[in-house]
C-alpha cells in the first residue's frame, strides 16, 4: 500500500468510526425505550436491520482495504442490470422506514461491463443507505438506481433529491472526510462514510464516483466499460 493510500485508508477508518456511532445509538436507545415503557415488543426487525447495516459498512471498509492492497485487480464481466436489481432488494427495508420508493431505471439491455461485482454491489448499497438516510421532508422521496450509455461507457449510479450535491461540493467533501464530522452535509447528517467507502471500492477498478444527473435528480455514478470478451462473441 502506498503512503497516499495509507493516509486515505486512515481517513476512511475515522469516517467509518464516526458513522458507526449512529447505529450503535439506535440500538442503545431503542433498548432503553423498551425497558422504560415496559414494552414486551422490542422492535427486533429495526434493531436487526440497523446492526446489519453497520456490519455491511464495516465489511465495505474491509473490502476496500483488501482491494487497495492488491497489486492488480481481477475484473470480470458483470451484468449491471443484475447488480442494480440486487442492490434495490437490499435497500427495500430501509427505504420503507424512510417512506422512500426505490426505482430502477434501465433503458433497454446492456452488455456486461468489466468490473468487480462484489465491490460494485457493496458500493451502490452504501450509496443507497446514505442517500435514503438523508431524505427529509419533501415531495420527491425517490431513490433511483440507474444506468445509461455515454460516449465513454456505461454510467451507473444512485440518484435522489439532492440539489446541493455538486461536483465542487463532492470535491471538497473528498478532501475533508475523516477530518470533518460532517464532510457531505447535503447528503448526510453524519460523516457520510458510506459515500467515501463506496468511492474507495470503485477507484481500484478505474471507476471512481463522480457527481452525475439523471432525470433532474443528482447523484453519484461510476463509468464502467463494456466487456471486450462479450463484444467479440
Amino acid at each position: 500500500m502506498t503512503a497516499t493510500n495509507a493516509v486515505s485508508q486512515e481517513r476512511l477508518l475515522r469516517a467509518l468510526a464516526e458513522q458507526l456511532k449512529l447505529p450503535l445509538l439506535h440500538i442503545a436507545r431503542q433498548a432503553e425505550l423498551a425497558a422504560m415503557t415496559g414494552s414486551t415488543s422490542v422492535p427486533n426487525t429495526t434493531i436487526t436491520q440497523t446492526a446489519s447495516m453497520a456490519l455491511q459498512l464495516i465489511d465495505g471498509y474491509l473490502l476496500s482495504t483488501d482491494l487497495h492492497a492488491q497489486q492488480s485487480l481481477h475484473l470480470e464481466p458483470v451484468s449491471i442490470s443484475s447488480v442494480l436489481h440486487d442492490t434495490a432488494q437490499r435497500l427495500q427495508f430501509l427505504a420503507r422506514q424512510y417512506n422512500c420508493e426505490v426505482e430502477i431505471h434501465l433503458a433497454g439491455k446492456y452488455e456486461p461491463v468489466m468490473g468487480h461485482r462484489e465491490s460494485l454491489e457493496t458500493a451502490f448499497t452504501m450509496l443507497g443507505y446514505s442517500f435514503i438516510e438523508s431524505i427529509t421532508e419533501g415531495k420527491d422521496r425517490r431513490l433511483v438506481l440507474a444506468a445509461h450509455r455515454s460516449g465513454k461507457g456505461l454510467v451507473a449510479g444512485v440518484f435522489g433529491n439532492h440539489p446541493g450535491l455538486t461536483a465542487d461540493m463532492y470535491r471538497r467533501a473528498r478532501a475533508l472526510y475523516g477530518n470533518s464530522r460532517q464532510a457531505l452535509p447535503t447528503v448526510s447528517p453524519a460523516s457520510g462514510a458510506g459515500v467515501f467507502i463506496a468511492d474507495s471500492l470503485l477507484a481500484p477498478s478505474g471507476s471512481p464516483l463522480r457527481v452525475a444527473r439523471h432525470q433532474k435528480l443528482n447523484g453519484l455514478a461510476a463509468t464502467l466499460f463494456p466487456s471486450q470478451q462479450m463484444q467479440l462473441v
Partner: protein, 126 residues
C-alpha cells in the same frame, strides 16, 4: 403538557426520542430539517426546542441564528442534543446567552432518562 419541538434528522432516533418524551408526558412535534422546524413553529410555538446541530443541508448554528431572528420565538429555550462533541463545539458564553441555548447534551452519552430530566429542568425551572 409542555410542547417540545424535536429537530432530529435521523428517522430512527426521531421516533425513539419522540416516544420517550411522550411517555414522559410531553407533547412532541418532530421535524427532520430546518425548514420543517420553521413550519412546525409556525403552526404552534413550542415551549422548548431540542436541536441536533448536524442537520442535512443546514448548519445547526445557522439555524439557531435564523430561529432567533423571529421576534415571536426569541424567548423559547433551546436544548442542544447533538452528535457534535464538546471539544468541537465552540459556543462562547455570549453566544449561549445571545442564542438562548439553555443546555447542551452530547448524544452518545445522554440516555433517554437524562434527556427527559434535562428537558424537564428547562421547561419547569426551579
Amino acid at each position: 403538557m409542555p410542547k417540545v419541538l424535536l429537530i432530529e434528522p435521523d428517522v430512527v432516533l426521531a421516533k425513539t426520542y419522540k416516544a420517550a418524551l411522550e411517555h414522559a408526558g410531553h407533547d412532541v412535534v418532530a421535524a427532520r430539517s430546518a425548514q420543517g422546524a420553521v413550519h412546525a413553529c409556525d403552526d404552534a410555538a413550542p415551549d422548548v426546542v431540542v436541536l441536533e446541530l448536524q442537520l442535512v443541508r443546514h448548519n445547526g448554528i445557522e439555524f439557531l441564528h435564523e430561529f432567533r431572528s423571529y421576534p415571536e420565538w426569541q424567548n423559547i429555550p433551546i436544548v442542544l442534543h447533538t452528535m457534535t462533541p464538546p471539544s468541537s463545539l465552540h459556543l462562547s458564553t455570549d453566544m449561549t446567552e445571545q442564542l438562548g441555548v439553555a443546555d447542551y447534551l452530547y448524544k452518545p452519552s445522554t440516555s433517554l432518562q437524562k434527556l427527559i430530566r434535562r428537558i424537564n429542568g428547562v421547561v419547569t425551572p426551579a
